[in-house]
């Protein structure tokens, strides 16, 4: 019993140390470098490090030099077995208003080890709400729109079934 307790404490300490001592900002810079290889750059006003999280404030997203969106707050939160990325007040550039809804109040992307092959996506905005999942095994993404308002510009790319409009793609 004593041995089990020791092992448990050791694992807990290592888990806690990994998260708290993680160089989050440098890991984010690494992510920025990888994204930059694909032409995506993020300019943020400042970065806040928390015990288990990293927050980017007032981030602008550029793709191949074109400003695509601005986000008031991007929060990366991880407990290693549960990871969540939250985007608050995402505003697509007005030049894209003919292609997609420009205002998203909040978007959340979640991955958990108890559902390792799926990444769930939820968002709310001028288009109503959407929920969906990316299936890592099938390499497919499906996003179901809860409402049909505010998505006229997207409809040519959407499909419809008994649940309503949805977007489906593979990656």
């Amino acid at each position: 019993m004593q041995m089990v307790k020791k092992i448990f404490i050791t694992i807990a300490v290592i888990w806690f140390a990994l998260l708290v001592l993680m160089p989050k900002q440098e890991l984010y810079y690494k992510l920025e470098k990888e994204l930059a290889k694909n032409g995506i750059k993020i300019n943020e006003k400042n970065i806040d490090e928390g015990l288990f999280s990293l927050t980017l404030n007032e981030a602008d997203v550029y793709a191949k030099g074109i400003k695509l969106a601005s986000v008031e707050k991007v929060k990366f939160f991880t407990l290693l077995f549960y990871t969540q990325v939250t985007l608050d007040k995402l505003h697509l550039d007005d030049s894209l208003k003919n292609m997609a809804p420009t205002r998203t109040e909040q978007a959340t992307v979640t991955h958990a080890v108890w559902n390792p092959l799926n990444i769930s996506v939820e968002a709310e905005g001028s288009f109503g709400g959407l929920s969906g999942a990316a299936a890592l095994a099938d390499k497919t993404l499906r996003l179901d729109f809860n409402e049909s308002k505010g998505i006229e510009m997207l409809k040519p790319k959407l499909k419809k079934d008994e649940k309503g409009w949805y977007y489906e793609t593979s990656f």
Binding site: L21, E32, K33, G39, K41, Y62, K64, S95
Partner: protein, 282 residues
């Protein structure tokens, strides 16, 4: 001798500290060997030239040069739309021809022709649309000779040239001799439906080593408005309205402003030759 701490507790705390230290060392090594110390930020291009507008300078006539936008080649004669009577319409997929009566004379017009200062934009089953001074007018077909005047009313919406089934690009590109005239409705359509651009014209990157040097036309669909613009496969787009097109940002900048411009000058490289294509947006 009495211990200040229980040896087991001391050992436990020491063990935890060693673990913390080990984890810190692992992260530190990773940080030094693999992780960057700074991020990648987008640097805004400085000194980029703004889109220019073709102007007519008159140094000999005025004390100071006055810039005026190039006028449309269409004669802007004064007159009322009510003087135009629509007698007949021939409306096919690729051509619109109407017969009108003006001042007791009949005249046949095709799209882009003008009469009394009004330019024919298109036609529907029983009406024709004309534009003048950025306003659109709709002239209804005379039902019978006894009905007298044609019914005329200004329309706010875009002129309808044919029955809308899907999102079909309205408007056309017409040749005006030294330059071509692009219908603004056509331009508006492509500004709102970017996907339709790529159905008609293919654009690929031209790279100079790792750097983007420009954009090459990879295909142009026959009979599309883009083919009428005079661009051909393998043309390299050098600049648009004085803006060098050597980045996605520059290209997108033109796309964003395209609805606000009246003239378009495209510099392309065709083989070893550099060409300037001029367009008027009407």
């Amino acid at each position: 001798m009495k211990h200040l701490f229980k040896p087991e507790v001391f050992k436990g705390v020491l063990g935890i500290l060693v673990l913390l230290l080990l984890v810190k060392i692992v992260w530190f090594v990773l940080e030094v060997l693999w992780l960057p110390s700074s991020g990648v930020d987008h640097m805004a291009q400085k000194g980029g030239k703004a889109l220019y507008y073709r102007v007519k300078l008159t140094p000999n006539e005025a004390a100071a040069p006055v810039a005026t936008p190039t006028k449309a080649p269409v004669k802007q004669a004064s007159g009322s739309i009510k003087e135009i009577k629509l007698l007949a319409i021939y409306n096919a997929a690729d051509v619109t021809v109407i017969t009108v009566e003006h001042k007791s004379k009949t005249k046949v017009l095709s799209r882009g022709d003008d009469i009394n200062g009004f330019v024919l934009q298109g036609a529907g089953n029983n009406f024709a649309t004309f534009s003048k001074n950025s306003k659109t007018y709709k002239v209804l077909l005379l039902k019978s000779k006894s009905s007298g005047k044609a019914s005329v009313k200004p329309v706010v919406s875009k002129p309808v040239t044919r029955k809308p089934k899907a999102k079909i690009a309205e408007g056309d590109v017409t040749d005006a001799g030294d330059h071509k005239v692009i219908d603004r409705t056509l331009l508006d359509h492509y500004a709102k439906n970017m996907d339709d651009i790529y159905k008609n014209v293919g654009i690929g990157e031209v790279r100079n080593g790792k750097d983007l040097a420009g954009f090459r036309i990879t295909f142009v669909r026959r009979d599309s408005p883009f083919a009428k613009l005079g661009i051909k496969r393998d043309d390299v787009i050098k600049s648009i309205n004085g803006q060098e097109i050597n980045s996605y940002n520059a290209a997108f900048g033109v796309y964003k402003n395209i609805q606000n411009i009246d003239n378009l000058t495209l510099v392309i490289q065709r083989g070893k030759e550099e060409m300037e294509l001029e367009y008027e947006i009407n």
